[in-house]
C-alpha cells in the first residue's frame, strides 16, 4: 500500500490536540514513514492557497481539531471536507464543542460586553468593540466574524469518524493512525474511534460500596475525600457513568480527581446530561420532593458539569434571547 496523504488542522483549538499527536514521541517517525503530511500547522509549513489548489479528495485522512467558533473556522472546515476522503473530528472540541462550547450557555453580546466593556481591567471610554472590517488611515483591515454560538465539526460539515478526548490519549492516537495506515477494514461511518466501548465506571478501579445511596452533594472545594473510594459514592460529582472509557483513567485514578467527561458519550446514549441525571436519580436517597429539590440545589451548575465538554452537541441548546 502506498503512502497516505494526511492533513492535520486546528480551528478554535487550544493546540493541546496537536501537542498530543507529537506526544506519541518516537512513533512520530513511524507515522512519517507511512504518511505524507500535506498540512499540519504545528509541525510544518502550509498556506491556505496550497490547500485550495489540491484536487478534491486528494487527502486520504484529515484530523480536524478545535471547534467552529468563527467564519474562518467554518471556511476551513468546508474546504477540508472537500479535499479529504476521510474527515475525522479529533478531540472534544471538534467532536462535541469542548470547553469553548461552554460559551453556548451565554450570548455573543454577553461575551463581547464582558471582554471589551465591563472587565475590571478594561479601560474603554469610547466603547470600542472589534469589528470584522475596519478602516484605518492606510486602508482596510479585516478579521473573521465571531458566531453567536460554537459548533461541533459535524454541525457544519459531514464527518466520517470521531476521536474523543481533551486531548485524546496519545496511545490511542497511535492506534487510530496505525489502523488507517495498515489499511485494516474501517468501522462504519460515524463511529467513535480511538476510545473504548464502555462507560468509564466500568473500567474504573476505585472502590464501590455495592448499593450506593447519597443524601447530598459535596463540592471538591470543601471536601476531603477518600483517595480510593468512588467519587459518586462520596457525594462528589464524577461523570464516569455518562463518559466513554479510553482516556487511561487520567483523572479518576492517576490524579485522584473526579471525571468531567472529556471522552464524551458512551455508545447508545444521546446526551451526557440526560444520562448523568438518570444515574443520579437512582443514587439519591430521598423521596420527599422538597428534600430532593434541596439536594439538587446543592449542585449549583448542573449543565456546566454534565456538558463540560459537549455543550455544542447536547439534545438541547440554549433558547434564543
Amino acid at each position: 500500500m502506498g503512502k497516505l496523504n494526511v492533513g492535520v488542522y486546528w480551528a478554535a483549538s487550544c493546540g493541546g490536540c496537536d501537542v498530543a499527536i507529537l506526544d506519541i514521541h518516537e512513533k512520530v517517525l513511524k507515522v512519517k514513514e507511512a504518511c505524507d503530511f500535506f498540512l499540519w500547522p504545528i509541525a510544518m509549513d502550509f498556506k491556505y492557497a496550497d490547500v485550495e489548489a489540491l484536487p478534491d479528495k486528494h487527502l486520504d485522512l484529515v484530523l480536524f481539531n478545535g471547534a467552529v467558533r468563527n467564519s474562518e473556522n467554518k471556511h476551513l472546515a468546508e474546504l477540508l471536507r472537500k479535499k479529504s476522503k476521510l474527515l475525522v473530528a479529533f478531540g472534544s472540541c471538534a467532536h462535541t464543542g469542548g470547553i469553548p462550547a461552554l460559551a453556548n450557555f451565554t450570548t455573543k453580546q454577553g461575551i463581547f460586553e464582558r471582554a471589551y466593556l465591563t472587565s475590571d481591567s478594561t479601560d474603554n471610554p469610547q466603547k470600542v468593540i472589534p469589528k470584522t472590517k475596519v478602516k484605518v488611515p492606510e486602508g482596510e483591515l479585516t478579521i473573521p466574524e465571531f458566531f453567536e454560538r460554537v459548533f461541533a465539526l459535524d454541525q457544519v460539515v459531514d464527518v466520517d469518524y470521531y476521536v474523543p478526548g481533551c486531548p485524546p490519549n496519545p496511545e490511542r492516537i497511535w492506534e487510530v493512525l496505525a489502523a488507517v495506515v495498515t489499511g485494516a477494514p474501517l468501522p462504519p461511518k460515524g463511529s467513535v474511534i480511538g476510545a473504548g466501548t464502555k462507560a468509564l465506571c466500568d473500567t474504573c478501579e476505585r472502590k464501590r460500596t455495592g448499593d450506593k445511596k447519597i443524601t447530598g452533594f459535596k463540592r471538591v472545594a470543601t471536601t476531603d475525600w477518600d483517595p480510593e473510594v468512588c467519587f459518586l459514592d462520596q457525594g462528589l460529582v464524577c461523570l464516569g457513568p455518562c463518559t466513554r472509557d479510553g482516556c487511561g483513567l487520567q483523572c479518576v485514578q492517576h490524579s485522584n480527581m473526579p471525571c468531567r467527561g472529556c471522552y464524551g458519550l458512551p455508545p447508545d446514549i444521546s446526551d451526557q446530561g440526560a444520562k448523568m441525571i438518570a444515574a443520579l436519580g437512582s443514587l439519591i436517597d430521598a423521596k420527599d420532593p422538597e428534600e430532593i429539590a434541596r439536594i439538587a440545589g446543592e449542585l449549583p451548575d448542573q449543565a456546566g458539569y454534565y456538558y463540560r465538554f459537549s455543550a455544542a452537541a447536547g439534545l438541547l441548546e440554549r433558547r434564543k434571547a
Partner: protein, 149 residues
C-alpha cells in the same frame, strides 16, 4: 397563537389506565395532549423529555402511580428525582419550570387526569410556544449528525 403541543408520558399501570378511563367515560379533555405509554414512570429516561422539547413540544407532562403504588416498587420515586433535577437544569437553557410537570394519577382518577390535561394546556398556552429546534440559538436547526441522532 398556534395550539400548544404537549407530550405526556404515562405509566402503564396507573396513569395510563386513568387516562383511558377518562376516554371510555367520555370525559372530554384537551386534545393538545399526546400520550406516550411507558411501563413505569421509572422507565422514563431524561433524554425522552429533552427529545420531546427538541422535536417541538411546548410542554411535557409526566404521570405515574401515587407514592407507594408503583408496580415496580419505587420507580415513581426514581422518576421524581430525575424529573426535579432535569427541570432545575433546564433553567440554564432558558426553559421555564412551568413547561414540565409531574403528577401522580391512579387508575381510577379519570376525571382528575382530564382536569390536569386541561389545566396544563392552559398553563402552556400562557407561557407561549417553545417552538422546537427553531427556538434555540442560531444555527442549531440546520442540524448535523449530533442533532440528527
Amino acid at each position: 397563537m398556534s395550539e400548544p403541543r404537549i407530550v405526556a408520558f404515562l405509566c402503564h399501570w396507573c396513569s395510563y389506565t386513568g387516562a383511558d378511563l377518562a376516554g371510555t367515560a367520555r370525559i372530554k379533555y384537551s386534545p393538545n395532549v399526546r400520550i406516550i405509554r411507558v411501563m413505569c414512570s421509572g422507565r422514563i429516561e431524561p433524554q425522552f423529555l429533552l427529545k420531546a422539547l427538541r422535536e417541538g413540544a411546548d410542554g411535557v407532562l409526566v404521570c405515574g402511580c401515587h407514592p407507594g403504588d408503583c408496580h415496580y416498587h419505587e420507580g415513581n420515586y426514581k422518576c421524581l428525582r430525575r424529573f426535579l433535577m432535569l427541570r432545575q437544569m433546564l433553567g440554564q437553557y432558558g426553559i421555564e419550570e412551568g413547561r414540565l410537570r409531574l403528577e401522580w394519577v391512579s387508575a381510577s382518577e379519570g376525571d382528575r387526569f382530564a382536569k390536569l390535561a386541561d389545566e396544563f394546556t392552559e398553563q402552556i398556552r400562557a407561557l407561549g410556544p417553545l417552538g422546537g429546534r427553531a427556538a434555540f440559538v442560531e444555527g442549531t436547526q440546520q442540524g448535523g449528525t449530533s442533532w440528527a441522532s
